[in-house]
Symmetry: C2
Subunit: 376 residues, 2 copies
């Protein structure tokens, strides 16, 4: 993996760049649509490629490990061959799902024991086997196994957890560096900064993580319920320590405004379920603002869903039709809403890159944040 | 509406033709994908046009009347403007849904009173208001309000019901002929033959229906649980009476084999939820046979879903991936399965037309029915 910074903004820490992987190039800043079980829910791979123009998607180790399982993924020749997505893929480490989805889990120094949400069967994730699992899944970028602390979190717990995450990182790196990719293309490992919302812990964690000198770095444990200001503060502190010349990935973030503000702090990569999950519930992001399509006011609004966005949707569908579909719980409602939201998110990243290159990012950001976060 | 017969098969009653509507031409024999609430479940209009090559789709009066409702459809300028489908549309009369979906309904000479499955509100359908409703929905082909008898059905009930359907047809025609289309394009009304599985009733009904001299005729009350042989027998009897020079529509039918056998009896139009509904449950129709994709045997089968069908699906997806999606209840599973099934059904109709034109339909049918109904 090669990261090259192309241009930088003078009034902020924003930058554009490219990440070269064996499955192609990623232009940063970038948003990665979440494809939990090897599918971005309700979106065809063809649409991801040609309509949404996604450059990289995310998969969840926890879900893929349980279903279809490592035997199938291995026989397929890895996740790209399995799901037909030939551009880059990133997998998380499974840690977040284990904590948030699994009813009964035990976190110990060795690793985490948890019960499958599908059949209740018991499994253990350790830093070592999570590396092995991600080798078998075969994403281009894989994540270290960490503990994601909740918000709010006691200082003492946050510190102890962070220290364990650091020890786990050492074990992840040892395992990763002593194993080979399985399918003939390269994989790279990103470590994750933790430390909850405590400045000193975030600083200490960022320094520790940077010292591992991996090809890219991630920030975890944010966007878990804390106020946006605290998230930005922590992100800023961490970005001041993480090496400038390597990509920075802010995990699980966020709203369109969160993305633009975090780009200004020096973040290059994002993922979040918001554009996909909220789409299925009728929350539509547009270039003109946010629409709750279930609202009565859209019932007879036959205008196109987003006049500002080039998309095939405008050739077929109106707000009123989308409202009807979502109100009727029709699958096509989820399809259209998700396609709109992801097209918007990727368009926003493209706009941000252009503005950074043109040297007008900061002014554009302030105007745009206001507009796109307006409730219509 | 203009129907022209293009070619006929020498060894059967099969024929090819064209139906000209104000929304374009339909080549017959044709299968009409079911778009209950103004959407073919899990399929984009773009896919219907360009991938599936659907020439006409069906909508359900009962569902569209309840949601989005006539005010929205009227303000939109009719169903085509509302759902973005600019090719022909056919609506059923709502009768079938009222009988099968509605818990509490009362059938009287005047009409049917029923409770909405959405909110329990009370409504009445009469032959007259069902014509008005279908004028407002605005489909190109609309259906007479009839009673669809269950199977099995007592002779006495079947006869009385059939006679009421005939009286209702008179009322439908009177109302239809004394009203105008609302959106500047033509609409045509098809009456429906009933008579359950009784030869004399079917003959009598077909004669009565033919006497109304409408532009096309339909056969209802079949494919409701009776053996296929009886369905074919009834279809054959009715086709011997219904005028040769007008399109014949066999409602709610059926399996790929049912379609080919009924084409041989002189049927031109079909609709059925089978390719769409069963897709969502993992039943996949292919040129090689029928697949239950949930079956363990497909778990590591990385071959394409249907090697015999030209489709964009083959560029992305395997049987194993589709199995994973359906097993995981992922929306994309429904999307792929439905797209495959409808592409197959429309391909099959296209093949049938070609074989009829080439004069090889009957031989081809016998071989094909065997192949495509094989359980893989």
């Amino acid at each position: 993996m090669v990261f090259k910074i192309q241009s930088t903004d003078k009034k902020s820490k924003a930058r554009t760049g490219t990440i070269q992987t064996d499955h192609g190039e990623i232009k940063t800043p970038i948003f990665m649509p979440v494809g939990t079980a090897g599918t971005v829910k309700s979106i065809h791979q063809r649409e991801l490629e040609s309509d949404i123009n996604a450059q990289i998607i995310l998969g969840n180790t926890y879900h893929l490990y349980l279903r279809p399982g490592l035997d199938v993924l291995s026989q397929a020749g890895g996740i790209h061959k399995f799901n037909g997505w030939n551009r880059p893929i990133l997998t998380d480490s499974g840690g977040y799902q284990v904590y948030s989805l699994s009813g009964t889990r035990k976190i110990k120094e060795e690793g985490v024991t948890f019960a499958s949400h599908i059949d209740g069967s018991k499994h253990t994730f350790t830093p070592e086997n999570v590396m092995d699992i991600q080798r078998t899944i075969g994403a281009d970028i894989i994540m270290a196994f960490d503990e994601c602390t909740p918000y709010p979190c006691e200082y003492k717990y946050a510190r102890k957890s962070m220290e364990m995450t650091h020890r786990w990182l050492k074990r992840c790196c040892d395992r990763f560096d002593s194993t080979e990719p399985k399918y003939g293309y390269g994989q790279t490992l990103f470590p994750i900064v933790q430390g909850s919302c405590f400045k000193d812990l975030r600083l200490a964690s960022a320094e520790k993580i940077a010292s591992f000198n991996r090809e890219g770095n991630a920030i975890g444990g944010l966007s878990v319920g804390e106020p946006a200001e605290i998230m930005y503060e922590m992100t800023e502190i961490v970005c001041s320590v993480l090496p400038w010349e390597k990509p920075r990935y802010l995990m699980g973030v966020g709203t369109p405004a969160n993305l633009l503000e975090s780009i200004a702090l020096g973040i290059d990569m994002f993922d979040c379920v918001m554009p996909t999950r909220n789409a299925r519930n009728g929350m539509i992001f547009t270039t003109e603002g946010i629409i709750n399509i279930k609202n009565e006011k859209w019932k007879s609004d036959f205008s196109e869903i987003d006049p500002g966005l080039p998309s095939f949707l405008k050739n077929y569908y109106s707000k009123a039709y989308l409202r009807h579909l979502v109100a009727s719980k029709e699958i096509l409602g989820a399809q259209i809403a998700t396609l709109q939201n992801l097209t918007f998110y990727l368009w926003l990243m493209n706009e941000a890159r252009t503005k950074i290159e043109e040297g007008t990012f900061s002014e554009w950001k302030d105007l745009t944040v206001k507009k796109i976060m307006t409730r219509l």
